[in-house]
Symmetry: C2
Subunit: 407 residues, 2 copies
């Protein structure tokens, strides 16, 4: 059993493998690195190549997230695919000496175990044999490599099991690590890190929206449920209107921003119990200009749609809306969709100044605005999806103040 | 001149280069990919290796950002370093046929020009000779490769100039692209994409803070300038207190969040002209609990510090602060730093209910709270940096309502 610093220099261990074999693998991986868009496919390819170079019968890739190791790729030439899948689904490991990948993630050091059944006593890790019990596959020689991002942080682990010699017998992995294996591990690390960054970026974009929503809720007690209903209805209507999955998601996540500008409207008007004066209505209408100011210049797609929605959800198909009096398809589809979701929710909800409209009345009002306030195509989508919309309204968790159960 | 689809298959063009040479370059790059933390060093290494494989006398890497190509690495075996640097600084290209890199970024297709002085007429691009005029270096054979991220988007361009044969004469790059060059280009693409993602992520994290700040400003007219002053003072004090650059930056960016909880305080109290009642003061104090609610569970370092600051900027060193009555170093350093910046700004600023204190009086009050409201170490840092703090206050752009010019 040997522990080594990673990375080693490029000369180490080259003699264990033919140059052209290593070259082929590296070229295969490198050329494909920027060409394969599917993250898992990319990892499968890397694992395949690294197993080839290490002459390993089996191997796994783990990703480290919130201090847990999750297996994201597994290959085993001896097991049938369903066994591997079962095995993969069940696998999540702690960062600790309770498993070899866990130990390597903890220490950041490579681990090379010639024979896992003949470990010296007192080693600070144990070989987790759960998988063995499930699949019957016995791992004897084991090489475990930490995958590190450019900041040196461990972001995953690569595990190779059972190196086979030309006669198909299990032999230890070379004492000195093979450079090809390390090169491919480095590529795996970069690929995984890339995917992690992309995911983190999506979450970061969403975070701005979420935080602003929470801030807006503090200005208006009704807002939390209202926002969830608008978001759901907008998503359902967008899908029914034939938008693609991505657009539907963007509208669903961005729609909570429609009223964010109300943060800038004084309490005296926002929370006034009676009807508003003409002057006060004008001040309330400013929220559709303040919203875009709060959202700023969009840095990403989600922010772009959020800004659209905040700016245009009070525009009308017939051009009589505000703030810009846009007409028809001048209004972005996001704004047209959220407009109908917003009005419907206002109609069927109790507000401090009004009782809720009965459902049939609310639907008649929406229908009456077909081609006036609303895009006829969106109205059609709304009614085609009305069951799914109402289903959410009738969920007690989101139905306070809206569509009382006797509806 | 030939245009080719990128990427090509791994077998193409291998015969143009020795296997072991390609292998050496790929290993060098791959092993280092996850080990080098400096982005530019990484790109320099990739460019060096790819030039070696392509036997190119010179080469550049461009990064594509907001539809402009910016040169981020340049090497030229014939020019002196200062010439290259001058040349790099001056270089930004449009995505258009006005330059070869611009054309390749536009089309996403590789371009191989055997002799740039013998271009057929009517080609849809021109060779930009500005650099030639500056440095006197003539580029004859040119290979330009688009760098694409895994989504297929072009994120940069690699340009190789003047392939030299064994006799040192300029020859065309091989008709069929060399796989080694393409592999290294792919690695360059992944590396650049990674760096772009990291930068975008930093901006996305900051964006949440910026958007919430803007939202908070709509609740309180004084806030914009107040926030800028607090941010500056906090950064200066943090540096004077011996925190490292990263901590200083985090505190500088996070400090604007200290009062974000005021979004949740009713106008009637927040904008009350006179003194607050005991009851009203309690409501105002809730802002240090509402702030963290708005900020939520931190997803990153910046959000963590923002939450700390929002939660603890009204704690006192002697334990008599709110909301949790923390004592001494129980209060995070970020909270201790922002506390002094906040109080100082309140003292020297005009508010709707009070005139500003004269500077000497304000400083005496701060001194009087040494070891009471404030950490003695932070008080010391504050006074050691007082000139830099006041300099910002005296800048007319941020001094409205604070430190009148006759001060």
């Amino acid at each position: 059993m040997a522990e080594m610093e990673h990375p080693v220099t490029v000369e180490d261990g080259l003699d264990h493998f033919g140059d052209s074999e290593i070259l082929h693998s590296l070229l295969q991986v490198a050329v494909n690195l920027s060409a394969i868009s599917d993250f898992r496919k990319m990892l499968d390819m890397i694992l395949q190549e690294v197993r080839g170079l290490g002459k390993a019968e089996a191997g796994s890739l783990y990703i480290l997230k919130r201090n847990r190791l999750r297996r994201i790729a597994a290959q085993n030439d001896r097991l049938a695919v369903p066994q591997i899948i079962l095995h993969v689904l069940n696998k999540e490991l702690a960062v600790s000496g309770d498993s070899l990948p866990g130990y390597v993630a903890m220490t950041g050091q490579m681990l090379n175990i010639p024979n896992s059944y003949m470990l010296p006593s007192g080693v600070p890790f144990r070989v987790n044999r759960d998988a063995e019990a499930e699949t019957g596959y016995r791992a004897k020689s084991i090489l475990v490599i930490p995958l590190k991002c450019s900041k040196g942080e461990c972001i995953g682990v690569l595990e190779l099991l059972n190196r086979l010699n030309a006669q198909g017998r299990i032999v230890p992995f070379p004492e000195t690590a093979c450079t090809g294996v390390l090169s491919l591990s480095a590529m795996a690390a970069v690929t995984i890190y890339n995917a992690l960054l992309q995911e983190e970026l999506r979450r970061a974009h969403l975070e701005t929206i979420v935080r602003l929503s929470v801030a807006a809720e503090f200005r208006d007690d009704e807002t939390a449920d209202h926002i969830r209903r608008i978001s759901h209805t907008s998503g359902v209507v967008a899908r029914a209107a034939g938008l693609d999955d991505k657009q539907v998601e963007l509208i669903r996540y961005a729609s909570p921003m429609h009223d964010v500008g109300k943060i800038g409207i004084p309490d005296a008007i926002l929370r006034k119990p009676g009807r508003l004066t003409v002057e006060e209505r004008k001040i309330v209408q400013e929220h559709s200009a303040i919203g875009p100011e709060i959202l700023g210049d969009p840095l990403n797609e989600l922010a772009t749609v959020a800004r659209e929605v905040a700016l245009t959800h009070h525009e009308r198909w017939d051009g009589k809306g505000y703030p810009n009096g846009l007409v028809g398809e001048e209004i972005p589809i996001s704004g047209r969709v959220v407009a109908i979701a917003d009005v419907f929710d206002a109609l069927v909800s109790k507000r401090c100044y009004k009782d809720p409209h009965p459902l049939d009345e609310a639907m008649a009002i929406i229908k009456g605005e077909d081609g006036k306030a609303f895009d006829p195509m969106v109205v059609k989508a709304f009614f085609s999806a009305i069951d799914e919309i109402l289903c959410f309204y009738r969920d007690p968790a989101v139905s306070q103040n809206a569509l009382d159960t006797d509806e």
